[in-house]
């Protein structure tokens, strides 16, 4: 189990909420929600569509089914997850592991969404 919480910044406590990792999780709020004033122009945002492709839809296609079948075939049913010794251990260890995963996973996904020249100059 992993629990990751992030304070958005009010009041500014431990974290600022504007780091890449946290921004990634609220991208869709910033880009897809929020107030729209019809008479104003919304700049055309190339790359946002890429985000939407990621939306999970269980597509009823043979390809998808075959992938699921393969995943089942690969699964080792004998090895269940071992029960954790102490909850605190998981929270700490899990969170750390997840953070690494998030950090290493996010830039790839983000670079698809954001512009290529989006380097800190």
């Amino acid at each position: 189990m992993t629990v990751m919480t992030q304070t958005g910044g009010v009041p500014a406590t431990a974290s600022t909420g504007s780091g890449t990792g946290s921004l990634f999780d609220i991208l869709e709020l910033i880009l897809d929600r929020g107030l729209v004033i019809d008479v104003f122009i919304r700049v055309s945002l190339v790359g946002i569509e890429i985000l939407k492709i990621d939306i999970r839809i269980v597509i009823a296609s043979v390809d998808t089914y075959l992938r699921f079948a393969e995943a089942c075939n690969r699964l080792d049913l004998e090895s269940g997850r071992k029960a954790p010794d102490k909850l605190s251990d998981i929270v700490e260890g899990g969170a750390r592991g997840r953070t690494e995963g998030t950090i290493s996973g996010a830039p790839g996904a983000i670079s698809d969404v954001f512009d290529r020249d989006d380097e800190d100059k």
């Binding site: 189990m1 992993t2 629990v3 919480t5 992030q6 304070t7 958005g8 910044g9 009010v10 909420g17 504007s18 890449t20 921004l23 999780d25 609220i26 709020l29 910033i30 880009l31 897809d32 929600r33 929020g34 107030l35 729209v36 004033i37 008479v39 104003f40 122009i41 919304r42 700049v43 945002l45 190339v46 790359g47 990621d54 939306i55 999970r56 269980v58 009823a60 043979v62 998808t64 089914y65 075959l66 992938r67 699921f68 079948a69 995943a71 089942c72 075939n73 699964l75 049913l77 997850r81 954790p84 909850l87 929270v91 899990g94 997840r98 983000i110 954001f114 020249d117 989006d118 800190d120």
Partner: protein
């Protein structure tokens, strides 16, 4: 926007009585000290000169978000969706006048509230294992198709069965989580989850109950145990509750 180039980037609508501490904030497109307010009656709109060639760059999205965070620290705010541009001050004032009553009412309703967004995923292997344990049909098909056995139709049938079960289980999980947290929220907005997530829900929470809400979400997550990944973000500007 080829002919008349819009000149203002719009961040948020708020009350004209808002302290509007804009000093030191980074503008979308770069530069500090560029933010100001355009007021119209009881409302104010936070703007900056529109950057040429605006695109959703990471630092610009962060700047947009930081403006909201600064504003919501001092009062209710209607955050704009990223990328809204207006031609000039007069157009902003006109737009505020046009929807004055609705904006004023919504700002009052959002007073002392914040959005919390909760995303959650469950290990797909765990889900598959659960399906295979509980469904005789799935288990039988899985055994038949292992090590290249069975027919093509068997593999498709297995995949279809499992896909349906997976989807049903994820929906059930999402409903459970939303059900448990809704009672602590004033409103909720459930959106399609992305990637491996089974949940993407936003909650409008009263500031007074924010800590209670976060604590409840954490306890809920801990209750689900290993193989789950919950990501709670908040307090956030109420992007999902502006209308």
């Amino acid at each position: 926007m080829a002919t008349t180039s819009p000149s203002l980037y719009i961040y948020a609508v708020t009350g004209s009585g808002h302290p509007l501490r804009l000093a030191g904030l980074r503008a979308v497109g770069g530069g500090s000290g560029a933010l100001r307010a355009v007021t119209g009656g009881p409302l104010a709109c936070v703007v900056s000169p529109a950057p040429p060639d605006l695109r959703p760059k990471r630092r610009d999205l962060a700047a947009h978000q930081e403006v909201q965070e600064r504003l919501m620290a001092d009062g209710a705010v209607l955050p704009m969706r990223f990328g809204m541009l207006a031609p000039d001050d007069a157009a902003v004032t006109a737009a505020l006048d046009d929807k004055r009553a609705a904006y004023v009412r919504r700002l009052e309703e959002l007073h002392a509230t914040a959005e919390f967004n909760l995303k959650a995923a469950r290990s797909q292997d765990d889900l598959l294992r659960e399906v295979l344990t509980e469904s005789d049909d799935a288990r039988r098909l899985n055994e038949r198709t292992r090590d290249g056995g069975g027919t093509y139709a068997d593999r498709v049938a297995l995949g279809e069965l499992v896909a349906r079960q997976l989807d049903a289980r994820q929906r059930l999980l999402a409903d459970q989580v939303v059900g448990r947290l809704s009672e602590m929220a004033r409103d909720k907005a459930v959106a399609p989850p992305a990637g491996d997530d089974f949940l993407n829900a936003s909650f409008l929470v009263e500031r007074e109950r924010a800590e209670e809400f976060s604590r409840a979400a954490r306890q809920l997550a801990q209750g689900y145990g290993e193989g789950y990944d919950f990501r709670l973000r908040g307090p956030l500007p109420p992007y999902s509750f502006v209308v």
